[in-house]
Symmetry: C2
Subunit: 99 residues, 2 copies
DNA sequence: TTTATTGGTAAGTTACAACTAACGGTTAGC
DNA sequence: GCTAACCGTTAGTTGTAACTTACCAATAAA
């Protein structure tokens, strides 16, 4: 789960996700829009794929990548869970001060 | 904004956030619960503070850290925005195939 | 079959993040 | 004023992530 955060923590990978959010794209297509080489993009896509943030399907010699909606779940769960806890703790501290 | 993701991408920092979500704590207190030294915790807290994920207040010689709820906003906005776009793009692709 | 297109992988380099040890600064208590 | 407790910062080391170049595999087209 912290894997997904680390994956999105890299600016290039975040940009890849933003591009793919617009529409599915092939590797070379992505590389043409980014300031890095195609192999670099390929390596980033591998990280994103392992984090369940993107999917890929074959199309001839091309590989079309798209967002994997399944990866979002754990992230949002984690955020909601701990921030709710933080707010509860904050309220509890305030309660101690005075009504 | 990708700063916040990078901050949460480190497992030690994620654990710090989890502990602070339970209740505000001092630096030494945190260090006693973690597998790293106190200076390391201090450096991690600096990163989390720059990412607006924690706040600190002075209490004598101690520094008490707590979650900063303000840091969550941009993260959730980013997630919602791009995943909504991804789902829309996904639906648009499906539409092209056949009704 | 040969040639071109498209991608993943390997090797090697470089920059940076994470850590510890040592030091200095600030507040509390005697 | 002196001592102790608590914390941030600096210096230095080490592991690893990100990148490019070069190479190999697979499919499409001629």
């Amino acid at each position: 789960m912290t894997n997904a955060f680390a994956a999105l923590g890299d600016p290039v990978r975040a940009e890849i996700v933003e591009k793919l959010a617009g529409r599915p794209m092939a590797v070379g297509e992505l590389a043409a829009l980014l300031p890095v080489t195609r192999p670099a993009v390929s390596q980033h896509l591998k990280v994103l794929k392992e984090a369940r943030l993107v999917r890929d399907r074959a199309d001839g010699t091309r590989r079309v990548y798209s967002i994997d909606p399944a990866g979002l779940g754990p992230i949002r769960e984690w955020l909601d869970r701990h921030w709710d806890a933080a707010l509860a703790a904050f309220a509890a501290e305030a309660e101690k001060e005075g009504p």
